[in-house]
């Protein structure tokens, strides 16, 4: 079984994310491409001690990159939109 630290790879801090945090108490994470919503929910709850209402995910396919003759591919990744219970929040700079 994947531990919570394997599932959550990094917080995503961006303009869009900040906007969503303000509007709907959502936070964004970069997660493992094979993680499902339930795993993300559990991982966030244990790592940040908050209650998760809802998780939405989006798959991002790595872009094809070419260096000279050889072809390469950036790795795929998954973005998770995690909605927190009202009143809970996550401070990326202070704790984790």
């Amino acid at each position: 079984m994947k531990g919570p630290r394997d599932v959550i790879q990094a917080p995503l801090i961006s303009e869009k994310g900040s906007l969503l945090t303000e509007a709907g108490n959502q936070v964004l994470f970069k997660v493992r491409p094979d993680a499902n919503k339930i795993e993300v929910k559990k991982a966030v709850e244990t790592l940040f001690k908050v209650k998760v209402e809802k998780v939405r995910v989006a798959r991002y396919l790595g872009k094809v990159r070419r260096v000279g003759r050889s072809m390469g591919r950036r790795s795929d990744w998954k973005k998770a939109y995690v909605t927190l219970r009202e009143g809970d929040k996550i401070d990326f700079f202070g704790g984790a």
């Binding site: 995503l12 801090i13 900040s18 990326f92």
Partner: protein
Amino acid sequence: MKIDVNELGPVQRKISVELPPETVTSEFSRAYKNLGQRVRVKGFRPGKIPRHVLQGIYGDEIKGEVRSHLVEESLGEVIKERGLQIVSRPEVEANELVEGRPFSFSAVFEVKPEIEAKDYLGVELQKVKLTISDAQVQAALGRFQEGHARLEVVGDRKIVQRGDFATLDFEGSIGGKPFAGGKGENYVLEVGGGHALPQFEDAVAGLELGEQRTVQIKYPDDYPNKEIAGKTVDFSLVAREIKEKVLPALDDDFAKDHGECASLAELREKIRARLEDEIKHIQNEGLKEQLIGRLIEKHPITPPGSMVERQTRYLMERYQEQASRQPPSDSSPAPSPDETRKSLETRAARQVRATLLIERISQLEKIEVTENDVRERVDQLVRAAGERAKTVRDIYSRPDARDELRAQLVFDRTVSYLLERAKVAQIDPPPSVVDEPGEKS
């Protein structure tokens, strides 16, 4: 803004300031706004970074910046308002800075002491009467003559004597092997001039022209050249020429050629005038020194420690520079750094006292120096600097150097002003002072 100024000592002040929360908050927002325009953070367009993100990344830096800004600004304001003349860097002690809370800090620093200058006009001074005697003029003339002496070949003598200038070829070897610097051709040696080893000079004296002679010379153990120190060197010597120092005749022609004077009498007068100038200069310096000493006696001021410290460091630097330029003499062992420092400190304290006192007097007497005066003085210095003129000009284009120069000018002017108004009594010279008027301190 709550301000409290405490006197900790005659020259120490402590300022305590408490700033209201509004000031703190507005200063914080200003800092973040400014920062947001400057930095780039990945995931955000420039200038669109929310404050909490900035706070997360740069929080501590901003705090430090806000603190120093607040301290500087309010301290500057207080100092201006109260007309304090700070001479040291303030030591700030601040409470924790939290946004939306009052911020308080205190700063300790030294100020110029308040001086009540009194009785500075008509200071009683003693001036030593000094005159130039004919003998001194004659001696100076003699030195001048000596300086223009020429070397002339001696025709009627074949043997080198003491006092001659002998042109030599020599070659030295240690145990049959030549060594570096041991060979010389057409080397002019003043026999008995003390420039070479005494034994060497002895060997040269008595040498006949053209004759080759071999001598053995034992070098002392402490000879500077390590290669030959303590060793016995064989020298083969040949004298090529004998010359004699010929002093030019002291007559009107001499005066014309070297002194740019019409006659010897005029040259004499010129030399006398120069010596008198020197004496006057020395007297003047002495009087100034006396004046300052008297004034300091009358005004017990506490000099601020930081000023004394600064002056001491300056003196130390100058002292070290001087010490490094001249090789240490054997006769007087160099004093230990601690001793030097102590004596310099006393001197520095005296100088600081003098500076403060004179400054105060210049204010009372409204002695001022205009920008024009400063410029003139700079021009003078530049002219005097010769090759380094450009460097000097550069230095004095900086405002702090100019201020210093201005202070120096005010100081000089004030001292002359006081000297003019001092009561100077002429006293007879003690016998020892008269001997060496030419020597400058």
